[in-house]
Symmetry: C7
């Protein structure tokens, strides 16, 4: 078990590592609580996609490395060799975040 | 995190900045409460669209800058660099408002 | 806001202005309460239509000016420059009324 | 309002005027309560039909004048110039009655 | 009303006359209660069939005279000139019974 | 009624005679309760199959004589000439059992 | 019954033997409880797959021997000759685990 490193999600599932928002700026100044409440994460792995009603495979619209906005609820917690990840269905992810 | 400026919504989601109805006319006269209750907003960004049952992509029928009438309930609150937005599915938006 | 005059409904939504049934005849005679209870309205604007499962656009079967019979419940209230309207999905409207 | 005479039902709706079963025979003899409990009506008007999932219009399988068996529940009451009618979806009507 | 003899069921509905299981053999011997509990009936009339999602008409898989096994619950009671029938959707009927 | 021997299930229904697991070995030794709890049965008859959304007939994936694993719940009890059977939809049956 | 060794799952069902995570390393040192909580199993047998709405057979995306991540809930317990297995639908399995 300790050897398990990677999860290849099935169907249209997306494995995400949550981004813990910094509470201080680089200079150590406390950030106002408001700006730190964005529930987001980095995409670690994506499934092959789900099939529509006619059996066509619909690829997942996210790729490894995407910074994504996560819904307030949902997501399945998955522990892989001491790291915590969350698994979402692609259509529950709200969008991609950009600088 | 403070660097996150933009959200590209996924699927048929629409990012809206609510229009706060003025309570006074330009001349400062209080507007009757009735006329100021329209729940509307400006479209900031739209997703690529959702797929119908046969996998065809159905584009979102709204574009950036549209003034849209919002439903009384629903919408997900999203804070991006101190500004408050709301995320709706396109079929929950009631229509476009015109002068 | 006071400038907003028109709403273009989205999808298969229909904007209706309710017809307030007269309680008296032209000659001022009180109409029996029974005959005045028809819940109906005039169509003010219609959406482009909704899509069926295969993505085909199904036009709204009503047009501006139609006198329509409304369901007892449902309908979203919309205030536009002091006038009250109601928004329905086309398949909730029971039919058209004719002299 | 007193001018409204006719309702053209929308979609697959059917306008029915309920048949009030006679409680006596022509000769005035009281009919046993059992035989008079058939919940039926005459078709007054039918809608154009509803669309199946692929957008094909499926005509209503009843026509004006049909004597139809009605379900125990359901039906929307509609008053048109002092007469009482009921509106059903075509697939809620149980069948046609014949001598 | 007393003139109504026949019901032509609509869609995939099936009109059934329940078979009342004999409690005694021909020789008058009481049958054990167990063997008499089969909830079955004779098909009296069938509808034209229902449409699948693509509008194709799917005929009812039963015909007049079939001896059918009925579900424990469901079925709409219909009285036609003093006789009692029951109306089922074809997919609620469990199968055909054979000697 | 006593003459009814056979049921031809409708649609994708499967008629099963439950296998009552032996509580003792052939040599009469009591089997541990654990090994005797498999809820299974022999297929006695199958329906013609159900239709998919496009009206294609999907045959039942089991045949007479198959030893099948049954779900913990569900199944309609059917008594035919003193024997007890159970009726299942084919997609509720968990699989086939093999030596 | 004691002879039943194998289950061929039906449709898109997957038979899994749960992996009981070791609580100690090979050298006998107690593993922190956190790392041992992965709910996973080895695929023992898979069904032929389910059909999409148009009747096309969609194969199961797992094969015998795959190490799979299981959902927290669900799964039907199946005892086959003293061994305990669990039966899942393929779309409930979260993905495959790799070293």
């Amino acid at each position: 078990m300790a050897g398990v490193r990677r999860l290849l999600p099935s169907l249209n599932r997306v494995l995400v590592e949550k981004v813990v928002p910094p509470t201080k700026t680089n200079a150590g100044i406390l950030l106002p609580e408001k700006t730190t409440k964005l529930n987001s994460g980095k995409v670690v792995a994506v499934g092959p996609g789900a099939r529509d009603r006619n059996g066509n495979l619909i690829p997942v619209p996210f790729k490894e490395g995407d910074h994504v906005l996560l819904p307030e609820y949902g997501g399945t917690e998955v522990k892989l060799s001491d790291k915590e990840f969350h698994l979402y269905r692609d259509d529950d992810i709200l969008g991609t975040l950009h600088e």
